[in-house]
Each structure stands twice: as C-alpha cells, then as structure tokens.
C-alpha cells in the first residue's frame, strides 16, 4: 500500500524523515528472495536506522534485529527508517552495490532523494506524490497530531492514542521520548519515525 506516502510537515521537518524499503514483486521475483531481504536489513543496520520492520511480522521483534532477520520470508517487505540524509545516502550506496535485484523505494523529500541518487549515479524509475487530503477534513485533528499520525500510514497509531500520550506528557507522567516509543509500538511495518515523533511531542508539550 501507500503507507509511507502522505507524511506531513514542513520541508525542514521532513528533512529528518526518510523511509527505505525493499519489496519483491508478487509472482515475478519473490520466489527465493528471503536471503536478499535479510541482506538488505543487515546492510541498512550499519547506518543507524531509527526504526526497522517487516509488515508480515509486526513489531514483535523490533528490539531484536536477529529475530526480525530470521523471521523474514519471501513475502516480506523489509523497511528501515532514517532521521538524516547522510545515513540514507550511505545505506543507499551499499544497497545499490549489493545489486539485490528487488525493488527498492525511498520515501522522503523528493529533491533530497534525487540528490542522493545523483551522488551514487542512479537514474530513478518512478515517483509518487501526495495531492493531499480531501473530503470531510473538519473531522481531522490539529496539524501536529496529524503529523504524528501520518508517520504510520497504515493508521495503527490512532489520533486518540496520540492525544492521550500528549496529555500524559503535559502532566509530566511521560517524557516526549517515552511517548514517542509508546506511539511506535502499534506501527507494525517499521515506517514510524520515533525521533520525529519525539520532536513534535516536545514542541506540543509547551503549546496550547
């Protein structure tokens, strides 16, 4: 699905948010691709991702990367989230050199990803943009809650949970980092960026 596409924020805020994922094409190059997905995770792990995951397994192994790697299958979508361009570029360089033969996508600022591709001599295949949210937008919460919620495009981090976490942060019962970690857990695919969530929660702590 388009689970990483509609992330919200200013250009400055989005410059700390990149998601890279490896996805086999069903019925075409998925048979026997498990070792390639495992190699992908091992490669990106060297560059300090702030989250890792596989939508097939959920986040049960999120703190045990060997379990995550062992649990990958031919049907997995392996995902790594980074909070800076340098880590993304270094990971991209290694993934390209490994020549895994499976589709690799990066969600983030298009111009920044373009720059990274130019640095590694890569011509991009395709692109997907967001044209925004339409419909009964009056039912949506405020900008910051929306920015946190859209870090999980599968919709597993509910607006109610974000608002409850924020209440507890304002009451000093949770730190922004603890709150961000609490919000990371329902995201099953590894695309949630807890570092960016922490920054937003930190801002919201003192806002009205």
């Amino acid at each position: 699905m388009t689970n990483t596409l509609h992330r919200r924020g200013s250009v400055e805020e989005l410059s700390h948010d990149f998601v890279m994922f490896a996805i086999p094409a069903r019925g075409i190059n998925d048979a026997g691709c498990r070792p390639k997905l495992q190699q992908f995770i091992r490669l990106v792990l060297r560059h300090g991702p702030v989250n890792l995951g596989d939508a097939r397994q959920g986040q049960r192994h999120s703190d045990d990367f060997e379990k995550l790697i062992a649990g990958l299958t031919d049907k997995s979508i392996a995902t790594a989230t980074f909070d800076n361009r340098e880590a993304l570029l270094a990971a991209l360089r290694e993934v390209q050199a490994a020549d895994l033969g499976i589709s690799i996508n990066v969600t983030g600022l298009i111009d920044t990803v373009d720059g990274c591709c130019r640095e590694i001599g890569r011509r991009r295949h395709g692109v997907e943009h967001s044209l925004g949210i339409k419909g009964a937008t009056d039912r949506l919460p405020n900008r910051n809650v929306l920015a946190v919620g859209t870090l999980c495009g599968h919709g597993m981090v509910s607006f109610n949970l974000i608002q409850r976490v924020l209440q507890l942060i304002k009451l000093n019962k949770l730190s922004p980092a603890e709150g961000a970690e609490m919000l990371r857990r329902p995201c099953v695919c590894g695309a949630f960026n807890p570092e960016r969530a922490r920054e937003i929660l930190e801002q919201m702590r003192t806002l009205g």
Binding site: T2, R26, I28, A55, H129, I133, G153
Partner: protein
C-alpha cells in the same frame, strides 16, 4: 477508531457497528491476566475516594478483548483494516496493492500513463464501501481504468461503472485504496472529479499520484497540475529502479 468504552456495568464494550476489525487492540495491548471481578471492584473502590487506577497505556489489566471469528461480509473489514491480514486477491499485506513500488519489475504502469491511489478513509477515520462507491462511480465517469489486481476493484460488480457489490456497501474499513491509471492527458479530469465528489462524503481520503520518470528525468504530471493550480507534496516515494525479473 475509539470504539471501545467502559459500559454501565464496568465492563469494556465494543461498538461493533463502528469497529473495523483491525486487531490493533489485541496486538498492541499487553494483557496482565488479572481477575476481572477484582479489577472492577478495585476501580469502584478507588472511584469512591476520588482516585483512579492508571495502568501504562499499552496494558489491558484483564485481557478482556478477544478477536471474533468473522464471516462474510464482515470479513472484508479485517482484510482492509488489519495490516497483517493478506488479501486473497493480491497476496499483498496491508491494503493490498504494490502500485509504483514494484513497477520497475512489473511494468504495470507504462510510460505516458499516470496512476492514482485514492486512499479512502485515510488518515485514520475509516470509510464505508458506500462512500468508496460514490468516489469510484465519479472516477469511472471521468474515464478511470481501475487496476484489476487491486482488492477494491475485485469488489466491484462492474469496473466500467465503479459500482460495488451490494453486500459490502455498509461494511466499514480503516482504509481502502481505489487504484487506477489514465493517459497523461486525462489527469486533470480525474483530479476535478475528486474535487467535486469530496463534498458528498462524511470521511476523508488521501490522494496519491504516480508515474515513471520521463527521459529528461521530469515528473510527467507536474506541469499540467501546477498550471491548473494544484500543488504537489515536497515529499513522496521514489522507486530507484533497482529491481529486475528473476533469471
């Protein structure tokens, strides 16, 4: 969804009409296995002296919630809402489509074509198939060719009109993607159809647009959209073109 509340008897109740069967509550909450009678008694006692028990957010003290066994058509809620549920039609987890992500291998979207992924109910509000049908019908009238390997298309009785199966119309899901492609020249009619139909809905949808890069590394749909006053997001998804068919 906010569908769980504590009822008058002190027991957790689920609004089944609004529940989308995403299974997030079972997956995210750690059951502590405490005796329900004891927990309710403690809560009543604490409330009588203006105190409350506040467990960590990811804890269910009694493990009160259990996943139901679903039957058709309610089963469709789980297919579209539970990220770990695999669609029978596509074999893909989540909302069930690969769109541009594997296009370097599949070639589903040719040069000169533009794809749309209309993510109904997103972010987080959910959607009934009755509303999905309204949008699909509007898109069909605007010339959409719905992606045959998409699970929403699989529930249409006639992809030429966008009409959905009668038995799923009242089912609610967390989100579902209408996926289609049109020639570049037909991009604006699709976007305008979305602008018009949005006012008929009590929910939201997020619009994704995708294509292969042109020979000059340009985004094919950028110019016509910007000239018509639409703004593309600064962020998005890039397929790096590293995939290939197995030997």
């Amino acid at each position: 969804m906010g569908v769980i509340h504590i009822g008058a008897g002190g027991r957790a109740q689920v609004n089944e009409e609004e529940c989308v069967e995403c299974n997030n509550c079972y997956r995210s909450l750690r059951p502590e296995g405490r005796n329900p009678t004891l927990v309710r008694a403690m809560r009543r006692l604490l409330r009588s002296i203006h105190l409350s028990y506040e467990p960590p957010l990811d804890v269910c003290p009694t493990g009160a919630l259990t996943p139901p066994k679903l039957e058709w058509p309610r089963l469709v809620r789980n297919f579209f809402s539970d990220v770990l549920s695999e669609h029978g039609l596509t074999g893909v987890v989540g909302r069930g489509t690969e769109e541009i992500k594997t296009n370097d291998v599949t070639g589903r979207l040719a040069e000169g074509q533009v794809g749309f992924a209309i993510d109904m109910g997103r972010p987080n509000l959910g959607v009934r198939f009755r509303d999905i049908e309204k949008v699909a019908v509007a898109l069909a009238r605007a010339g959409a060719q719905f992606e045959p390997k998409n699970p929403v298309t699989g529930l249409m009785v006639d992809p030429a009109t966008g009409r959905m199966r009668e038995d799923v119309l009242d089912e609610k899901v967390l989100s579902a993607i209408i996926e289609l492609q049109v020639p570049l020249a037909n991009v604006l009619p699709i976007v305008r159809a979305l602008d018009e139909v949005q006012h008929e809905l009590d929910t939201v949808f997020s619009v994704g647009i995708f294509a292969q890069y042109g020979p000059d590394n340009a985004v094919p749909y950028q110019r016509p959209l910007e000239e018509a006053g639409y703004r593309l997001s600064p962020n998005g998804k890039t397929n790096l073109g590293l995939g290939r068919r197995s030997a």
